[in-house]
């Protein structure tokens, strides 16, 4: 009875010590942490955006354009192949299908062979041989229906989301933001958290611009009149200028050849610079392929204008005075310094593969965050003090032991949160305060049980022993049910609610531990030393 084997004492003491040590960095300044010896833990609890201020964005990747382009490309590839085999046909896009209509139905077998040879495997990995990217759906005689498989479309979507994340990361890094979180959220969403950012205005540009830039030749054959009427020859499209008049209409319209002269993908660098008139401009450098294409195109078109198109708007349309051979160029437009800086940042980071739609946005100013931290601190301290006084009033010496356990409990919650790098949110603070109220529960269960056992005539030592052992099952059952609620909250909750679930769950573990091990160790050690004849409980 009342035996506490040495290994158990050591384990409890060690667990407590580690728990408390893990919490220590939270109470130190950065310099003090840097001065800690190597064996000491250094990670702190991260404050949630609601406590330190910052911005939270949820973006959805609209991959429909990407999917349509993928279909167009595939259709084009197959057309080229069919043409090489002299198979006459027409084709059109219907939904997710490309439909080929053969001029001579007897070409069907040949055409099918050509189409089959264009099939590429997708989703190939170590564990999977992959799936065909297209299926030849149905159709008979002259009609062949080619559709993308779900796997191929899914893979493309996943790719666009991942590429978008990469581009966003480079863009956000380009702005010098500290510790941004950029992660995939669900199938086609991206979650971005920028701690400490107050002016979200500056960030809007990061999400709003896809920044697809291409160089095209202008089609001089189209008259101004035709441009205004929207009449264009084949493979020519009308684009507006980026400059707008007061009513918001474009200042000019351009007839642009669809063929890409040089693609923005072939840029290696872009930086802010000045043109010869000391106006803000953007200096761009091409890679070898882009440099050669640019040199060839400018050499062949001296004296003609070309257009630089960014996100379907013409930023400038300069004349080619001489062939540009050096692999770099300067884009001039009517930029402000800020615009030129932003554009060079966007070009460096690369284009987004698909447009993004903002579906959720939350920002908290740093003042409000600081207020919340302050309010949370005051509420926690007062709540804790009230509970502690009450417990001592009710249980005397045992209450003091419970309070020591409770204090260690709070350190351990912070220890666990720091160890997992969890985020502390305002509801999370509420979770801790609530845990304080509920952590006492385990002690109360034990103390009340000891009282009962004493009443039934047991002596002090066996009452203590019975109290602890009989209350244990109840404590476990009661806490597992709360833990279930916490786990479900964690699974389904988002943001601050998740933070609440984490602290609640951590609190359940630490309060059970401190009540059934730590306070038991204290009480039992005390009882064995003093051998009290009666208990003031």
């Amino acid at each position: 009875m009342l035996e506490f084997p040495r290994w158990k004492v050591i384990t409890i003491a060690l667990a407590t010590l580690i728990g408390v040590l893990l919490a220590v960095p939270n109470f130190l300044t950065d310099e003090q942490i840097a001065g800690l010896p190597d064996f000491m833990p250094k990670s702190q609890v991260t404050l949630g955006l609601d406590l330190q201020g910052g911005a939270h964005f949820l973006l959805e990747v609209d991959a429909s354009g990407v999917i349509e382009n993928m279909l167009l490309d595939k259709g084009q590839t197959i057309r080229d192949d069919l043409r090489d085999e002299n198979i006459l046909h027409r084709y059109r896009l219907v939904g997710d299908n490309v439909i080929f209509t053969l001029t001579n139905p007897e070409d069907r077998e040949n055409a099918l062979r050509v189409i089959r040879s264009s099939i590429v495997k997708v989703g190939v990995s170590l564990s999977s041989v992959g799936t065909d990217d297209v299926i030849i759906a149905d159709g008979s005689g002259a009609v062949i229906n080619v559709a993308y498989t779900e796997e191929a479309i899914l893979e493309k979507k996943v790719q666009s989301v991942q590429q978008s994340i990469e581009v966003l990361r480079r863009r956000i890094d380009g702005t010098g933001t500290k510790e941004p979180t950029i992660q995939q959220n669900g199938a086609d969403r991206i979650l971005i958290q920028l701690p400490g950012i107050e002016d979200t205005e500056a960030f809007k540009i990061i999400f709003n611009e896809t920044a697809q830039m291409n160089f095209h030749l202008t089609n001089l054959a189209v008259s101004q009149e035709d441009i205004f009427r929207g009449r264009t020859p084949p493979r020519t499209t009308i684009y507006p200028s980026v400059e707008k008049d007061e009513a918001g209409n474009p200042m000019r319209l351009f007839a642009i050849r669809d063929e890409v002269m040089v693609s923005g993908e072939d840029l290696t660098n872009a930086s802010y610079s000045m043109d010869q008139n000391n106006q803000p401009a953007v200096n761009i450098t091409f890679n070898a392929k882009g440099g050669k294409q640019f040199a060839d195109a400018t050499r062949a078109n001296v004296g003609k204008p070309f257009a630089i198109i960014l996100d379907d708007e013409v930023i400038s349309a300069p004349n080619i005075n001489t062939a540009i051979l050096g692999g770099s160029a300067i884009i001039t437009g009517s930029f402000t310094v800020q615009e030129a800086n932003d554009l060079s940042m966007l070009l460096r980071a690369g284009a987004l593969p698909a447009p993004l739609e903002m579906i959720e946005e939350r920002t908290v100013g740093p003042d409000l965050g600081a207020d919340s931290v302050e309010a949370g601190k005051i509420a926690s301290i007062l709540g804790l003090a009230a509970v502690m006084v009450f417990i001592v009033l009710c249980y005397g010496f045992f209450g003091i032991v419970a309070n020591v356990a409770l204090t260690i409990n709070i350190f351990m919650i912070f220890g666990i949160l720091s160890m997992f790098g969890a985020t502390l949110t305002l509801p999370g603070i509420a979770g801790i305060v609530l845990t304080v109220g509920m952590a006492v529960d385990a002690n109360v269960l034990i103390f009340e049980r000891i009282r009962e056992e004493m009443r039934s005539g047991k002596n002090v030592l066996s009452a203590i022993d019975a109290g602890y052992s009989r209350a244990f099952g109840t404590i476990i059952d009661a806490n597992v049910t709360t833990l279930i609620a916490a786990l479900i909250l964690f699974q389904f909750g988002s943001g601050p609610v998740k933070g609440f679930a984490v602290t609640l769950a951590a609190g359940i573990f630490t309060s059970v531990f401190t009540a059934v091990s730590l306070s038991r160790l204290f009480i039992v050690t005390w009882a064995r030393k003093r051998r009290p004849a009666t208990l003031k409980l």
């Binding site: 903002m358 946005e361 509420a379 007062l382 005397g396 009340e448 009989r470 059952d477 699974q491 609610v497």
Partner: protein, 314 residues
Amino acid sequence: MLLKLVPEGTNVPFVNARKIAYAFSTLMIIASISLYFTKGLNFGIDFKGGFLIEAHTEQAADLGELRSITGGLGLGEVSLQTFGEDNQILIRIEFQEERSLVEVVDLVQETLDSEYSDNVSFQRTEAVGPKVSGELIESGVLSVLLAVGAVLFYIWIRFEWQFGLGAVIALIHDVILTIGMFSITQLEFNLSIIAAILTIVGYSLNDTVVVYDRIRENLRKYRKKEMPDLINLSLNETLARTVMTSVTTLLALAALFYFGGEVIHGFTAAMIWGIFVGTYSSVFIASPVLLWFELRREDDQPAEGQEVLPPQYR
């Protein structure tokens, strides 16, 4: 002298009052459900979609002037209220089909900067699109249902199915009454309230399980006792603990309610209500309803003298 909230030898005949409790609870449940359908809930933007701006003015905010400015924005109905202090305001704007999330906040900021007589700084802005809010409702409802289901399962495994059913009846009672409270007070019902409801579920269960544990123990200890007496005894034996834990939790919550700031006001209000409802339901509902179901006690009797207590800690 130590404080004892529940004196020794207390013997309240809780079970005898069960008819009154059932009638009272039925009434409350009917009231809550009809309130929900007539008055509805004051859904926050988490569930409704739209915009919320918490702003700070230097002088006390002139709500009349602010209303006329925001009314002229062409953003439909804009609701304004003070939030805690008289220079803190909450602006709520319904979801805009035509404008992006970003544009609306910018528009309000620019208009207030140029037209309102005082400096307005935005402390917090939230914008939730309808797609997200729909999903948040779904996952909120799903999580409450899942929690109830998981608990039913756990108690069924650990006790008997009768206990599981009793606990779930009490839980549903608590959830409905909490929703009723939000309907009558029109406190904002947002994501953190779902968290509060799940915590109430956890708390109420905690209470119920402690009593059930004792009922199970007493079932083995007193073979001849009538069920109502046995339940009464168990309730009274655990009463001190029930009251103590409620009081300590309420103390902690009271501190949060008064000092924790406006943002978590609704959350703590829900929790405080939930502690009352959860404590009431585990004493007056969860335990007496066990009488509805035949509790087995003869079949799985252990042999005389054998240890019959729950798993022990040695």
